[in-house]
């Protein structure tokens, strides 16, 4: 499954980058979401995929009884999901404010610090 998902993630990356390259400032936000999802999947998929073995220790045991999925990439991705949400919220507020102030949604109009 990993090679197949690698191709899908590559597609997500391409989609996100394409949106970030657009001049419409709103599309940039959509690209940002796609990119963060893709980046999270890169970490998750490259670490190797395992079905039905979540990294949990059964009650009464001191360690999992069988091989479990690697918990470290999961912890990293968890942090990344939350942070990318924070970044997205900030970017949205920024775009909103920018649009309110300079009345344009074309990034190419934003080439100087003075409007």
């Amino acid at each position: 499954m990993e090679p197949f998902l690698a191709v899908v993630v590559g597609g997500l990356f391409a989609a996100g980058l394409y949106m970030i390259l657009r001049r419409s400032i709103v599309k940039l936000l959509i690209g940002l979401v796609l990119l963060s999802n893709a980046a999270n999947l890169v970490i998750f998929v490259t670490a190797g995929l395992h079905r039905g073995v979540p990294p949990l220790v059964p009650e009464g045991a001191s360690a999992p009884l069988h091989t479990v999925a690697d918990p470290l990439p999961q912890a990293l991705v968890l942090t990344a999901i939350v942070i990318s949400f924070g970044v997205l919220a900030f970017a949205m507020a920024l775009v909103h404010r920018t649009h309110a102030m300079v009345k344009t949604d074309d990034i190419n109009d934003l080439t100087s610090t003075d409007s």
Partner: protein
């Protein structure tokens, strides 16, 4: 010896306070340090004269075989004495000359740093240490030349000196590293005995060229001579110091230092003397063209440096002897004459030789110093200069090949002739005959300002009368150190009636003739100005312009202010560099096969995810785009569910819901989607995006097989319950093993929240016109 070298740096730190508390005697107080150093170095004369050498080693970067080691033999001792001895008079002089200037304290700092760096340079045994001191002299001379930082000329000249000498310094560093590779050691004292190995080595030519570039830039050889006259922007004491004993002599010093290692080959004997002769003639001819005392002297320094290079290039025993004697001759008269120029400037308010004249009565002591130094410069017996000139002629006449012997004899005689004329111009013209009115009523310089020039000039006379005094103790050991084998030699003023003496007389007569027709020669040379202005300095400015133009062009190209442009450059360089590495490295395997197999429902989820992402990209309406985006996010959550990551799935679902809500809430305040780019731009961007996506796929496939160590998570799995008392290992990692990361994450969220609040709620008070 370490303390001796570093004391200058230490005092430099305190110099401004010394200046403050000692007032007009500051020059005398600070002069105590170089005076003490002179005494310290002089105490080594008997040891060195007996043929011993001294080596002190302090560990510095032992891992790289770099030591802070010092080595004292005849050559380094001679230079150390010149630096500290002349330095003493320079400090005393400067304390008086610049007494009124508020930046005198700062000036002392730079000058002390400069002196200490110079001492380090001549005493260093390790090539890297030498290089560090070498660059320190460049930096401190930059500060000294640019001390009038409000003047554009000063800044420009300082930068010019820095760029030329530090640029050459880079070549020198490369040369040193090659030299150490070829000779097997960074220590000069060891390399000195391995000259044969270095000369036979395949890297010899590279070493020689790089080292010569370093020496020639520092010692202002053609075509790098232009920075030296520009450096006249510095106050006179600095010029006197820079020209007589330090800075520009550093290049010559290094040539002499490495003489036993690098000289003796055909390339050396052919190339080095040619540069020297060209520099000698260029310098002395251009000196005839100037009317400013300091500029005349600056060009004669260029000529003197050329002479020294010529002698070292000829490389016979005679030539080495001549080089050492002439080095001392030049240091003494040049130091004195520069200080005289400063005193004349101080006493009359001008340095223009077409205005000056007849001031011998007003400045008697300065005139005495000038006359003595001038006689030495002209090479008139019984001064040391006479001896120096005789030796130059003899050495040139005995060059290895007949052609070179004729060529160089001619060159030194012409140069000697012009030297006579220039000596008369700078040391007689201001004092005798008739002059015009000067801006200041002529008056003699104070004691502190004639002590130095008079002492230095008198030394030329004393050494001339008693050549053995300086010769046996100082000069002969230095000659031996340069030549590589001890030299037994007796310096005498009188070489007997021979054809060299005839040549000397001829020079003198011709010199007087040139002096008498100096106005006509100057006019002729001024006619050649357009041609001279196209010289190397013009090339320097063109190169600088080109550099600026290139920097502007590439800034405009890479940073033109358009976000898309930046991204495309980033993407393209990543794809080319990383992808290129993949193509070049053939031992990377891609994990197209994988153990986990494919299940139908997993494929459906993955395809759904990609399809939704494509929909989100191409939908023209905002709402459908956001809906598609939501589908992608939930599909990602499903992937997490399917592959054993329940916590991730939970978080992803929560965040995705919030994201969609946020988008819907905020988007109706934002403009509708617009199609702003033309189709061609969209196709171009698609190409960039797809190539980057492809690269990510390839990277993932390569990374999957690349694990080379036991993952740290095995420890996490084993330790989760026993150590952290938690059974959800992912949670334990987040709040326990990597708790600091999580703290950072919380900080980021708080900052984002504050930022969002500020952007949404706070508006600046409306200003006029809005």
């Amino acid at each position: 010896m370490l303390i001796a070298v570093l004391s200058g740096f230490v005092l430099a730190v305190a110099a401004p306070w010394v200046r403050q508390y000692t007032g007009r005697y500051s020059g005398w107080v600070i002069g105590l340090l170089p005076a003490g150093l002179t005494a310290y170095f002089a105490s080594h004369i008997p040891l060195i004269a007996a043929g011993e050498t001294l080596r002190v080693v302090h560990p510095w970067v032992p891992g790289l075989d770099i030591q802070l080691s010092f080595y004292m033999d005849g050559l380094s001792l001679l230079f150390a004495l010149l630096i500290s001895g002349i330095g003493t008079f320079i400090f005393i002089y400067a304390g008086s000359y610049m007494n009124k200037r508020p930046d005198l304290g700062r000036f002392y700092v730079y000058l002390l740093m400069f002196m200490a760096s110079m001492l380090g340079l001549v005493l260093a045994d390790n090539l890297i240490a030498l290089f560090v001191f070498w660059e320190l002299t460049s930096v401190s001379s930059y500060l000294l030349i640019g001390i009038d930082h409000k003047s554009e000329t000063a800044r420009k000249s300082a930068l010019q000196a820095l760029l030329v000498t530090a640029g050459g310094g880079l070549a020198l560093l490369a040369g040193f590293i090659l030299l150490a590779a070829a000779g097997g050691s960074f220590e000069i004292s060891e390399l000195l005995s391995r000259g044969d190995v270095v000369r036979e080595h395949g890297l010899y030519l590279g070493i020689l060229i790089l080292v010569l570039i370093g020496c020639f830039t520092k010692s202002a050889q053609v075509p790098f001579h232009f920075w030296l006259p520009s450096a006249m922007a510095a106050p006179t004491p600095v010029s006197a110091y820079l020209h007589s004993a330090t800075m520009v002599k550093a290049g010559v010093f290094l040539l002499a230092r490495l003489f036993p290692v690098l000289s003796g080959t055909l390339v050396w004997s052919v190339v080095v003397p040619l540069f020297g002769a060209a520099t000698m003639l260029t310098g002395i001819i251009l000196a005839m063209r100037q009317t400013d005392l300091k500029l005349i002297l600056a060009y004669t320094t260029v000529a003197a440096l050329g002479t020294l290079t010529l002698m070292l290039g000829i490389g016979t025993e005679l030539a080495v002897k001549a080089a050492i004697v002439f080095l001392v001759v030049h240091s003494l008269y040049k130091g004195a004459l520069f200080l005289v120029a400063g005193s004349v400037d101080h006493g009359t308010g001008t340095r223009d030789i077409t205005v000056l004249g007849g001031h011998a009565k007003a400045l008697p002591i300065t005139f005495a110093a000038a006359a003595l130094a001038g006689l030495s410069m002209a090479g008139i017996p019984p001064l040391l200069g006479f001896l120096g000139k005789e030796m130059l002629y003899e050495a040139a006449a005995h060059a290895d090949w007949l052609f070179y012997a004729v060529l160089f004899t001619l060159a030194v005689v012409i140069s000697g002739m012009l030297h006579v004329a220039v000596a008369a111009i700078v040391s007689l013209r201001p004092f005798i005959g008739q002059g015009q009115d000067t801006p200041v009523t002529p008056h003699e310089a104070p004691f502190a300002m004639w002590l130095g020039p008079l002492t230095l000039a008198s030394l030329g006379l004393v050494f001339g009368l008693l050549p053995a005094m300086a010769g046996d103790a100082l000069l002969v050991p230095a000659m031996g150190a340069v030549y590589g084998v001890p030299i037994d030699y007796q310096l005498t003023l009188w070489h007997g009636f021979n054809w060299i003496l005839m040549l000397s007389l001829l020079t003198l007569l011709a010199g007087v003739f040139v002096y008498r027709s100096r106005e006509r020669i100057r006019a002729r040379l001024t006619d050649a100005d357009p041609w001279i202005n196209r010289g190397p300095e013009y090339g320097y400015f063109r190169a600088l312009d080109f550099l600026n133009w290139g920097a502007q062009w590439q800034t405009r190209f890479f940073q033109n202010g358009y976000l898309g442009n930046y991204l495309r450059i980033l993407i393209a360089s990543t794809v080319v560099l990383v992808g290129g590495t993949f193509l070049l490295k053939d031992n990377l395997s891609l994990a197209w096969q994988s153990g986990s197999g494919m299940r139908f429902y997993e494929v459906v989820v993955a395809v759904l995810m990609l399809a939704a992402a494509i929909l989100a990209v191409e939908r023209p309406s905002r709402l459908s785009s956001i809906a598609a985006l939501g589908i992608t996010g939930y599909s990602v959550a499903l992937i997490y569910v399917l592959f054993s990551a329940p916590d991730l799935a939970l978080t992803q679902i929560l965040v995705e819901t919030l994201t969609v809500l946020l988008f819907v809430l905020i988007f109706y305040r934002l403009p509708r989607f617009q199609t702003l780019s033309p189709p061609s731009a969209r196709r171009r961007d698609a190409l960039f995006a797809v190539s980057m996506g492809g690269l990510v796929t390839v990277l993932m496939l390569a990374a999957m097989d690349a694990r080379i160590a036991v993952p740290i998570s095995e420890y996490h799995i084993a330790a989760s319950e026993p150590l952290a008392f938690g059974r959800n290992i992912v949670n334990v990692i987040l709040v326990d093993f990597r708790a600091l990361d999580t703290l950072g994450e919380i900080v980021v969220l708080v900052l984002a929240a504050v930022g969002v609040y500020a952007l949404m709620k706070l508006y600046p008070p409306k200003s006029e016109g809005q």
